[in-house]
């Protein structure tokens, strides 16, 4: 019987013979895996160990995030702003109290209020002036609204709406009753000036002043109706030359908004008679002549005086001019007397009487009521407040790309001569919401998209206090973020 050869399985197993502990032999990948793991352990362990050596390095590395630039000098000094964990004044020591613990701040080190309220540097409202308002403890915690560690360029004052609406969505517990506001584009009430507009005392027609020639279109062919550059007072002609479009004195004026509304900062200078009205509306009394033949030269009277003072000014000016002409007045002979000396022959008739007559004449020529409303014979105040929106901050500069009439459109284009005051020309909140609302497209027309958060218009801190002198810091302490020397 022939010898049987090795079985197929034995042949297959032959290459592996003597290598049964193959699984103990490391592969290159496994070896590198271990080497790299050890390297990672050493590198990260070394880095962490290096952090523990220096206190400033450690605190800079352990920061929650980069501080805003205004606080950057204290980026490596946690305890400049945070009360240390171990301090007795630190709030909360339990595991879940980390938030309270690290939100126990020392803002008053640099932002100190007065001695009786050092932690409250800039309160939301003056409780002395408004004692009926509740003192909200949360409002005294700076970190309720100002969240740092958001990056160097983060604006600490640009707080979230939620920080405002936390209280303003329902002010009744704090404020008694007030409009509840959750968002500008939803339920913000209209501006106070729209709800109760001030009493206006000025009759000014914007539409008329913005037309060519400052007259109705139908009058443009009438050379006497069109207001020309030459009619502007010589002292003001240069100021208005650009509105004539040429040097020609016969050129008709065409004013625009900037003729009277001059930018200043984020708003406009107040319109003043002397600068913006007098060039065309000079209060000039033309030459007068009394029945006795006394004449006066034209003279300009100052604007803005009370009636009685203004009358006194006119009378004194007329008296001054009449005094120079007393020779033309009729002389009145004195009756003969028994005195031996030669009698006085005559005196001019009563100067005062002539002046009174001319003052009356001047009073008829002056027409304050053309521009001013009167009440009980007195000129009413114009009723133009220094700030139309006292509770907010509106920056005209940021809106200069938009046509003025897009917002100031309540007076329309109707020229109404001799009418009363124009309607209030402050746009309502809906006008603002055209842009200041979430972006959307309605029937192909874009709408909204501009910022509409609370701090876009409002400032929280109504009262900015000065720290008392004894709480002001030396530079060294300031940079150390520590009041103690």
């Amino acid at each position: 019987m022939p010898m049987a050869g090795p079985s197929i399985n034995r042949e297959r197993a032959a290459p592996f013979r003597g290598q049964r502990r193959y699984f103990h032999r490391p592969t290159a990948i496994r070896a590198w895996r271990v080497r790299l793991a050890v390297l990672a352990l050493l590198v990260t362990g070394g880095w962490v160990a290096a952090l523990t050596i220096d206190r400033d390095v450690r605190q800079a590395a352990c920061t929650h995030g980069e501080l805003a630039r205004v606080h950057a000098p204290w980026a490596d000094k946690c305890d400049a702003c945070h009360v240390p964990h171990s301090s007795t004044s630190s709030a909360g020591s339990g595991l879940f109290d980390t938030r309270d613990r690290w939100r126990t701040f020392r803002c008053e080190t640099c932002h100190a209020g007065p001695p009786h309220d050092p932690k409250n540097f800039a309160p939301h409202y003056d409780r002395m002036a408004k004692p009926h308002l509740v003192d909200d403890a949360q409002a005294r915690d700076c970190s309720s609204c100002h969240h740092d560690h958001q990056g160097a360029d983060f604006a600490l004052a640009r707080v979230n709406d939620s920080d405002c609406t936390r209280c303003h969505k329902d002010l009744s517990p704090l404020h008694g009753s007030s409009p509840n506001i959750t968002a500008f584009h939803k339920d913000h009430p209209d501006f106070r000036v729209k709800q109760s507009p001030p009493m206006r005392g000025l009759k000014f027609n914007h539409a008329l002043h913005l037309t060519t020639g400052i007259t109705e279109k139908t009058n443009l062919d009438n050379p006497n109706a069109v207001f020309k550059l030459g009619q502007v007072g010589p002292a003001y002609r240069e100021q208005y030359r650009r509105f004539a479009g040429s040097e020609n004195h016969e050129a008709a004026l065409r004013l625009d908004c900037a003729a009277c509304h001059e930018p200043a900062g984020g708003g406009y200078k107040s319109v003043s008679f002397d600068r913006h009205c007098q060039g065309c509306h000079a209060q000039t009394v033309s030459g007068l002549q009394s029945a006795a033949g006394v004449t006066t030269k034209p003279f300009t009277i100052p604007h803005g005086r009370p009636n009685a003072e203004q009358n006194r000014w006119i009378r004194s000016e007329i008296l001054r001019q009449v005094e120079d002409q007393k020779q033309i007045l009729r002389t009145v002979p004195f009756p003969p007397t028994d005195r031996l000396d030669s009698p006085r022959v005559a005196l001019p008739s009563d100067l005062s009487k002539e002046a009174d007559e001319l003052v009356k004449l001047a009073g008829r020529l002056l027409s304050c009521q053309k521009c001013h409303e009167t009440s009980e014979g007195q000129i009413r105040p114009t009723g133009t407040p220094a700030q139309w929106l006292p509770g907010a901050r509106f920056d005209h500069t940021a809106h200069r790309a938009v046509n003025c009439a897009e917002c100031h459109n309540t007076w329309g284009s109707t020229i109404a001569r001799g009418g009363g005051s124009e309607p209030l020309n402050v746009p309502g909140i809906d006008n603002c919401r055209q842009c200041h609302a979430p972006a959307r497209v309605v029937k192909g027309v874009p709408s909204g998209g501009a910022r509409h958060d609370c701090v876009e218009c409002h400032r929280y801190h109504a009262v900015q206090r000065e720290p008392p002198d004894d709480r002001r810091l030396p530079i060294e302490s300031f940079l150390r973020g520590n009041r103690n020397p």
Binding site: P15, Q19, A37, T44, W102, N160
Partner: protein, 277 residues
Amino acid sequence: MLVGGNTFARHRIAYVLAAVVVFCVPAAAWYAAARIGWTDWPSGSTSVGLILGIMATAIIAFEMLLWPRKQMRGRRLGRTRIWMYWHIWLGLLSLPLAIGHAGFRFGGPLTTAVLVLFLLVIASGVWGLALQQVLPHRLLHGFMSETIETEVEQVMAHHRREADDVVDAVATGGPADALRAFHMAEVGPYLEHGRASGSVLQSAARAAGLFADLAERAPEATTTVRRLEQLCAARRQYDAQRRIHAWLHNWLMIHLPLSVALCVVLAAHIVTALKYW
């Protein structure tokens, strides 16, 4: 480990990626709500944020236990498959937890290091998981004589000896010398060192041409030539198998060291977080 229970690898990969997305949906919703202003931005120091951080840390600790579990194969510490299952799904779950804890921010240098390492660990893990959906299938069906990776060199040394024997058995003189020279110059080094030898035989097409030419020149040694060709084909196959094997495991060279680094900086983060904010 195969996930998704689907036959096709691309479906299983899609399943893994979909799982990542689904797991991140709550975090994305939270981000959107905070962005719109419906809710506050999450923060690691709030109660919710802290709980998320503790959960993520616990998961990371469990994930790291897989390493000692693999080292202690002899101990009965539960089935590897079960361990792997939870390693994968809890690992994916830790992603939204950690992001929620971080408040969608990197923070300072230490927290940035923690989060970046964590994201890299998760990314490398997902990459490895995706590879594991494809490559084992290719190994199973593409390599009929697949062997254990650490045994390849042993097997090829055996084949090298076999090749030497069959060539020595061929009579000397004439075309047989050419065969012997070809074996010494190309076949032997290739069988021994594979791709590292730089031999032309690593190209199947070129090898087929060379062996056909050799068989034509030495017709009496056709059997030997055919055997050498088979052995070279086996070497090529083992090289390909090693390449795939390397892809199947090389992601661990990133995943594991980064996991170790993550544990170190995470420990530092825990200490400083409780002490410094």
